[in-house]
């Protein structure tokens, strides 16, 4: 079966979810591109958007349409060539409309899993629950006569576990998109020992067509992305807990978040990132990773505590941020949760004291947005962290410890053979987490 043919009947499971909707969109665009090739005009292309919620599915269709419009507006130059034979489509607007219709006509929103029984390719993007994923994969495979291929978007569950439990040896590949898939460039690809090479080749071509960056990871729980993120998060939470000998808990959270964002020049502070991913999701990922990591305790009592208190983070269906460790108003941090008082302390009540305690970052500091756009980023960060080396303000000391821990985590991913190279670790953090510099660097050990 050729690349184009495998794309003729596809199902995305969990299509209305945060990750599923993006994967559905990207798959729909790829399938439409295949369908619009002159040699494929007489073929049918079907993409089942499978989800349990009718309501979510109708929201999904609106989302996909708006995103296809954006994609079409960006590639109108190519679309005019693709539709050059359609003499009735003259203006850009007519061509864009036709393309949207062509993409949307491929998608079938469905709530019954039996639709997937005729697909040749199944993208699984259900929630990060090993039992649920196994149940879905094995059910589809038992009832599908085509020996379908399965791409799973798991961010932490070993592929070998899924293939063994679901009885789909060789036909499953980890294809881990980052949130939101339509925007994020990174795709982690994970093979088990048995995964057929054709699956990886197919995925590579697909990822390349989407103009995304493929980074291979070994089949080890958490892979590279969460392998780094979870440990980084645990470090941040530990530092905050330790700080409570000096300051209140909300103050500690504020300070660690500030250091990990402003001092380290990252797109988000660590607590904001945990909220973004979801406290529940982070806990779930740690649970999945825990049994596989022998020399470290991948677990956070703090996350357990927050979830018991009903504080979950994550995002609303419109993409806005739910409150978690931090409270958000119009996308800005406005408060910090106090688990003892069970309420948010306004940021302006604690910022002044905490900022004084932390002191200033090096004078050369710039916001992440500016740093990431700097064409000479490496030189900038070398100079910036060099300025930090001899500083002994609380903020600088915390930042340096954080940076070293992040590097240590990265190096361990390589020595544990989760990542194939240091470069892969850096690429994941640069492209999947939008960091402006890779964690494996020598910024703090530079000589004069």
């Amino acid at each position: 079966m050729e690349h184009d043919d495998r794309f003729q009947n596809v199902t995305v499971v969990g299509a209305a979810g945060k990750m599923g909707s993006g994967i559905l969109l990207l798959t729909a665009l790829e399938m439409a591109d295949q369908r619009l090739k002159p040699e494929n005009t007489d073929k049918y292309y079907i993409l089942y958007a499978l989800d349990v919620s009718q309501k979510a599915l109708s929201g999904l269709m609106g989302y996909v349409r708006s995103q296809v419009l954006k994609a079409a507006e960006k590639k109108t130059v190519q679309l005019r060539k693709i539709y050059s034979h359609r003499r009735d489509l003259i203006e850009n607007s007519e061509i864009i409309d036709q393309y949207i219709n062509d993409v949307m006509s491929i998608i079938r929103p469905v709530t019954t899993i039996s639709s997937a029984y005729e697909s040749d390719l199944v993208f699984e993007a259900a929630s990060e629950n090993p039992e649920l994923k196994v149940r879905i994969l094995s059910d589809i495979d038992r009832n599908n006569p085509n020996k379908p291929w399965f791409f799973t978007n798991t961010s932490s569950i070993p592929i070998s576990y899924l293939e063994k439990e679901a009885g789909i040896e060789g036909r499953v590949l980890g294809v881990h998109f980052y949130n939101p898939p339509a925007v994020q460039k990174l795709v982690e690809v994970i093979k088990s020992d048995k995964t057929l090479p054709e699956l990886a080749d197919f995925a590579s071509k697909f990822i390349k067509n989407l103009r995304k960056i493929e980074v291979p990871s070994n089949d080890f729980a958490g892979f590279i992305g969460n392998g780094h993120f979870m440990r980084d998060a645990i470090h941040g939470m530990n530092v905050a807990v330790k700080l409570t000998s000096e300051v209140s808990f909300p103050e500690a959270v504020y300070m660690v978040n500030k250091v990990s964002q402003d001092f380290l020049i990252r797109p988000m502070g660590i607590f904001q990132l945990i909220d973004y991913v979801g406290i529940d999701v982070c806990q779930y990922i740690m649970k999945v990773m825990h049994p596989y990591v022998k020399d470290e305790d991948i677990h956070s009592p703090l996350l357990d505590k927050y979830l018991e208190l009903g504080v979950k983070g994550g995002q609303n269906s419109d993409g806005s941020q739910k409150d978690g460790f931090l409270k958000y108003e119009k996308g800005r941090i406005s408060g910090v949760y106090d688990p003892d008082r069970k309420e948010y302390v306004p940021v302006n009540e604690l910022a002044a004291v905490c900022d004084t305690l932390l002191g200033e970052p090096p004078a050369s500091v710039v916001p992440w947005k500016i740093a990431v756009a700097n064409p000479k980023k490496d030189e900038f960060f070398k100079a910036y962290f060099k300025d930090m080396i001899n500083m002994d303000t609380k903020g600088a000391l915390m930042a340096k410890a954080y940076l070293l821990r992040s590097k240590e985590i990265g190096e361990k991913l390589v020595s544990d053979k989760v990542a194939f190279s240091e470069k892969d670790v850096n690429t994941v953090l640069l492209t999947g987490f939008f960091h402006a510099y890779g964690p494996i660097n020598n910024y703090l050990t530079q000589e004069d």
Partner: protein, 404 residues
């Protein structure tokens, strides 16, 4: 001509521009520019006739019958004759010659001319559809997504092939630099606050045919702009009526109009032959030659169009326009200062207003009103020239001016 006025050229580049927020419409721009002129000439009572130049509000703004906005500018204009004219990007100067002809025909002593366009109502990819109307619609299907950039990209490609890509691209980058440096001196310019240090390096950005056209980058292109310009065209009687002195006015010494077949491909992609024809007429009527020009406002809708216009003017031989530009001759201190407030690339290109904006700039320069953008005007070279072009060298108006 007297009492010129330009609104800000609004669009990307201006700090106050936010595509997501509601912005002034056609009527607000017309009102701002129109009232500013009326305020300088003693009010609407002094006006005999009104002309508005607008390319295609019918699509950008779903609005036609723009002459009806004159009484909205000022109640005193009610029941006065008014007309709207159109000639794509050459609209503004067509509006001017419409007014000039009324003065010459002695049917008016004071004509109020406004040019206006509001283009940021749609994204650029749809704006390209609308602006394509400046060409022949039957060519649209096989044209580029960005139709007009595609046309001038083809001209640039032909020029590269004939005379060398390297020097031409460098000259285009220099053109861009001159435009932005001049725009930085004019507060109404769209690129007024541009702070890029190495403009020529930016201008040398390699074109990306996948997302845009083969031979041009976005810096080679004029801006997508909202704006209006207005000026009063007066007879000697009109001048007195409005209470203006001759030396504060500019006199139209001659104008040349030329039209070419919109359905015909250019005979030679590396030559603007219609521009050349219109220039010949304007120089002949004015009885001057190019050596007597103090400054030129030329229609640099694309950098390559600017270079071709320099050749059409005869400042450089065919194929040597890039060398002329690279030698600094078109900069504000060069042999012939061109587009002293940034032109279409630096100041902006509210299509239907551009021709009027050019006249206002010449009026400011020749009467010493150009502020920080003022150039020196020598007694031996007292003339100003505008070149306004509609479509791909199809609808041309060139006007020669001198201080009154």
């Amino acid at each position: 001509m007297i009492a010129g006025y330009n609104t800000i050229s609004m669009g990307t580049g201006r700090k106050e521009f936010n595509p997501k927020k509601e912005r002034p419409g056609l009527e607000e721009y017309m009102k701002e520019a129109g009232q500013a002129v009326l305020g300088q000439i003693g009010g609407a009572a002094n006006v005999d006739e009104c002309v508005v130049g607008n390319f295609i509000a019918s699509r950008f703004n779903k609005q036609a019958n723009l002459a009806g906005f004159f009484p909205y500018i000022d109640e005193g204009l009610r029941y006065k004759p008014a007309i709207r004219v159109e000639g794509a990007c050459g609209t503004g100067a067509l509006a001017l010659v419409t007014g000039i002809r009324s003065i010459l025909a002695e049917t008016a002593d004071v004509a109020l001319v406004v040019g206006v366009e509001v283009q940021n109502t749609v994204k650029a990819i749809y704006g390209a559809d609308i602006l394509a109307a400046a060409g022949w619609f039957k060519e649209r299907k096989d044209g580029h997504a960005y139709f007009f950039p595609g046309k001038f990209s083809d001209r640039a490609g032909a020029y590269f092939e004939k005379f060398g890509r390297d020097k031409t691209r460098r000259a285009m980058a220099r053109w861009y630099r001159n435009a932005i440096e001049n725009a930085r001196l004019c507060p109404t310019a769209q690129e007024f606050t541009n702070r890029v240090e190495d403009l020529e390096a930016l201008g040398m950005t390699e074109p990306n045919p996948k997302s845009f056209v083969d031979n041009l980058n976005v810096y080679d292109c004029s801006k997508v702009s909202d704006g209006a310009s207005a000026i009063a065209i007066v007879s000697e009687e009109g001048l007195r009526r409005c209470g203006w002195k001759k030396e504060d006015a500019i006199e139209v010494m001659g104008f040349g109009q030329a039209e070419n077949d919109i359905t015909a491909a250019p005979a030679n992609l590396t030559v603007l032959d219609t521009t050349r024809a219109a220039l010949g007429k304007a120089f002949q009527q004015a009885g001057i030659n190019r050596e007597q020009l103090a400054t030129v406002e030329c229609h640099d809708c694309f950098t390559i169009a600017g270079i071709l216009a320099i050749e059409a003017l005869g400042f450089a031989k065919h194929g040597e326009g890039p060398d002329f530009v690279l030698a600094g001759n078109t900069s504000r201190t060069g042999v012939i200062p061109v587009n002293t407030t940034g032109g279409l690339i630096g100041w902006g290109h509210p299509t239907g207003a551009t021709g009027v904006h050019q006249a206002v700039t010449i009026w400011e320069q020749l009467t010493g009103r150009a502020g920080n953008a003022q150039i020196e005007i020598h007694a031996g070279k007292p003339f100003g020239l505008t070149i306004n072009m509609g479509g791909d060298d199809k609808t041309l108006v060139c006007i020669v001016y001198k201080k009154g």
